[in-house]
Every structure is written in C-alpha cells, then in structure tokens.
C-alpha cells in the first residue's frame, strides 16, 4: 500500500472546504496548519480564547497577550476584534461559526466524535472541543485513518469517551475523504495510490461508496 498523505497535505485537502466569507475555527495541532493554505481567500479566523480576525502564526516576536488558543503568537489583522471567553463561546454555541476543523481520535458511523481522552494513558482535557463540536455549523475532522498499531479510528461505535454525539460532517484522513450525512458514512475521495478496498479494510464501519468516488486532487 502507498503512503497516505502527510499532515500538511491533510491540511491542504481540508482547506479546500473553505470559501470566501466563512468564519472558521481551527483546532490545536494539525488543523492549525490549514491556515497555511488559505491565502487569497476572504476567511475570518476565530480563536476561542477571544480573537476574531487573526492571520499568520508569528515565529519570532512573542507578545503574551496576542496568542491563539494553542498558545502561539499570531498576527492581528485589520478589522480584528477581541472579546472574553463567554462571548467567544456564545459565538461558537450560538451558531455563528461556519466551519470548525478539529483533530480526531475516533469517529463513529453516525458521526459521533471522540477526540479528548485516551483511556490507555488515563489522560486528556476537554478545552473548547465539546463546544466547538456542538456549535459549529459544519465540523470537519482531520486525523490519521488508523492508529500507530494499525487499528481503525473510524468505527461503528467509538470506544473512547465522546466529545459530542452526531456532530461530524466530514472526515479528512491521510487515506480518504468521508462524508458523514444522515448518520451514514460515504467515501467520496481516496488519497493518491490508495484503493477503495484498502480504505474499506482499514475502516471498521459501514462505508457507502459514492458513485463518483475519485482520487483527491491536491
């Protein structure tokens, strides 16, 4: 089997779901990389710690009060605004965020998400994940298709504690793009060099194969 997508390419593919005018929240980790691929789009990035309208991650200057929710210093764009955490999550829970892109640990066949707690390690923290999963109009999960041990992360029922029920709209993995609609999973794209059968084999949930299933264009 060919190698799946790199983290950067997963982020690139996820970025293709974004379009002009959208208000977007990018989770910590892989989703943060999506911001590298939105130049030229008129997108407003929200960070749940209380910023709307930030830009690039700044590598050099560190201003403690100008960070995103991952603790990284960010550029503040013209038109940006700052607000407290109750207002920020009012925005999120209130349906004012068009798309949230979060990392995932497991997704179930009906779109349940588990992304905060790893039982084997007895650890995990919730942060803003539960509110974002429930509140964003569209939820995109980016993750590796299988664990390091080769176990599927897309499965009939999540074995890890849930972040939220029936919340996922799209899964972008290193192997595939899978739509989650009406509590059904549909394979719509395959990574270059990865076959539909390989994806079915590495997925522990029923997968409808879209009649137009195609290779991702990256």
């Amino acid at each position: 089997m060919a190698d799946g997508l790199s983290r950067e390419l997963i982020a690139l593919r996820a970025s293709r779901e974004l379009s002009d005018g959208m208000i977007v929240n990018l989770g910590i980790g892989l989703p943060t990389l999506v911001s590298n691929f939105i130049d030229g789009l008129d997108i407003t990035l929200q960070s749940e710690n209380g910023i709307l309208g930030y830009g690039n991650i700044l590598e050099d200057d560190f201003e403690p009060d100008f960070i995103n929710a991952g603790g990284q210093p960010v550029e503040i764009l013209p038109g940006a605004s700052f607000f407290n955490s109750a207002e920020s999550f009012g925005m999120i829970r209130g349906g004012h965020i068009d798309v949230a892109i979060l990392g995932g640990l497991q997704v179930s066949s009906i779109g349940d998400l588990a992304n905060w707690y790893v039982p084997e390690r007895g650890g995990g923290s919730i942060g803003g994940a539960m509110d974002l999963a429930v509140g964003a109009k569209k939820l995109i999960i980016t993750m590796a298709h299988i664990t390091k041990d080769g176990a599927p992360r897309i499965m009939n029922e999540c074995s890890y504690p849930l972040t939220a029920e029936k919340c996922v709209d799209l899964i972008v993995t290193d192997l595939a793009v899978i739509q989650c609609q009406d509590q059904q999973l549909t394979l719509v794209e395959t990574a270059p060099g990865i076959s539909v059968d390989e994806i079915i084999n590495l997925t522990a949930a029923e997968l409808i194969i879209d009649s137009n299933v195609k290779e991702m264009s990256l």
Partner: protein, 229 residues
C-alpha cells in the same frame, strides 16, 4: 467599597486564607496574573481549590501544586493525552492526591458568568451524551436536549489587566479578556494585577472593560515572561 491600591503583590494576596477557593484569569500566556500566583506560592497557604482555564507544565499555577498547596482543580485543560514529562498537577492527580473537575471551556466561561450575574443555572447542548453529563439534570426544550449547568463562584479571583485607574476600572489588552473579565464579577474578593495605574478620567468610559465596582484590590507589577511548554 473603594478599591485598595497595593505596590507589593505579597501584600495584595495576604488576605487569602487556607482552604480558600480562588479563580485565576488567563488563557495560557494571555492575561495570566503571574505575579499574584507567585505571591500566593510564597505565602504558603494550602488546601486551595483552584479554578482556571489551564494548569500544565510551565504554567505558574503548577508551582502551587509543586509546593502542595492545592487540593482540587476545576479547569478545562489539566491532563494531557499525549505522553512526555508530566506537570506536578498531573503527577499528583494520577496518584489520587488532588481532585479534578474537568469542564468544557464554553461551559466553564458561562458558569462563571452565571455566578457573577445571579443566574441560577443554564441549559447548554455542550456535553450531552458525554462523560460531562454524568450526574447532571438533562432537560428538553423544544425537542432539543440540554444539560443543566450550575454557576461557579469563588472566595477570591486573581485577575490580570493591562491598565487600572485609581477607582479600579480595568482595561485588558489583546486576547487577555478571556476569563479575567468574567471572574472579576464572580468572587467575593477580586484582586487585579495590572501593568499600569492611571488617574481616574484618563480611561474613556466606553473603553472600560471591567467597572471598578467589581474590583477590591489593585497591584501594579511588571509582567512576568511566560511561555507555554
């Protein structure tokens, strides 16, 4: 109830007793009341309940765990799912030596706001069908399922603002409003660390984020360099 102005954080936090509950504003580096935390660390008060967004490796709050001043934490980030070096809090938590109530961040913010605003509880869709729902009342409104979440208050709030005037009116900078602006309303005694104290009247009324009536003590401190590990 005029605000008291201090020049020494140790004096400002000297009223804190053992067994107190304390809210700490800040989100990672933004708006963290680091000087007040260090002063509390030096004070040696113990059996404290901390309420803060995050407590982790590199957070000043973790020093309070190192010195065994903490019995319980209410937070949104406290235990990492990834491996690597553990914070003092994590080590003590895994040994069962400190308590932890993990709260979704939006629910944490809203519970503090409710505590300050006399709201007896609120319904949120966040956490429905998860471990967070355990032991909570589930309510249905217009066919949708919600958890009933209850307000949070504390004996003290330690907050960080950019500027204060001599009446305790506060202005925050950048992303440092976060929990500071909320906690200022939800504790019996609010202690604010600020970078500058200015005369009354030099902050424009429409610029003031926290009205001075919420603030009990103000102390001017140079900010502490903080980075998250």
């Amino acid at each position: 109830m005029a605000v008291e102005i201090f020049s020494d954080p140790a004096r400002a936090v000297s009223i804190v007793q053992n067994d107190s509950s304390i809210m700490f504003g800040g989100f990672v580096s933004a708006g963290s009341p680091s000087n007040l935390i260090m002063a509390l660390h030096n004070s040696g008060q113990s059996n404290l309940t901390l309420m803060a967004n995050n407590i982790g490796l590199g957070d000043k709050l973790d020093l309070l765990c190192e010195s065994r001043q903490v019995s319980k934490v209410i937070a949104t980030f406290a235990i990492r799912a990834s491996g690597g070096r553990q914070s003092n809090f994590e080590q003590q938590y895994h040994k069962g030596e400190v308590g932890l109530e993990l709260v979704p961040q939006g629910t944490f913010a809203e519970r503090i706001r409710a505590g300050g605003a006399g709201i007896g509880g609120f319904l949120t869709p966040t956490g429905v069908g998860t471990m967070v729902a355990e032991g909570k009342e589930i309510m249905h409104v217009k066919g949708k399922e919600y958890l009933l979440e209850l307000p949070l208050r504390a004996d003290y709030a330690f907050i960080k603002a950019y500027k204060a005037d001599t009446q305790g009116n506060l202005v925050y900078r950048g992303a440092s409003k976060n929990f500071n602006e909320l906690m200022a309303t939800a504790a019996d005694c609010v202690i604010a660390e600020v970078e500058q104290i200015v005369e009354v009247g030099s902050l424009r009324p429409s610029q003031i984020h926290t009205p001075g009536i919420f603030v009990d003590r103000v102390v001017q401190c140079d900010p502490v360099e903080i980075r998250w590990e």
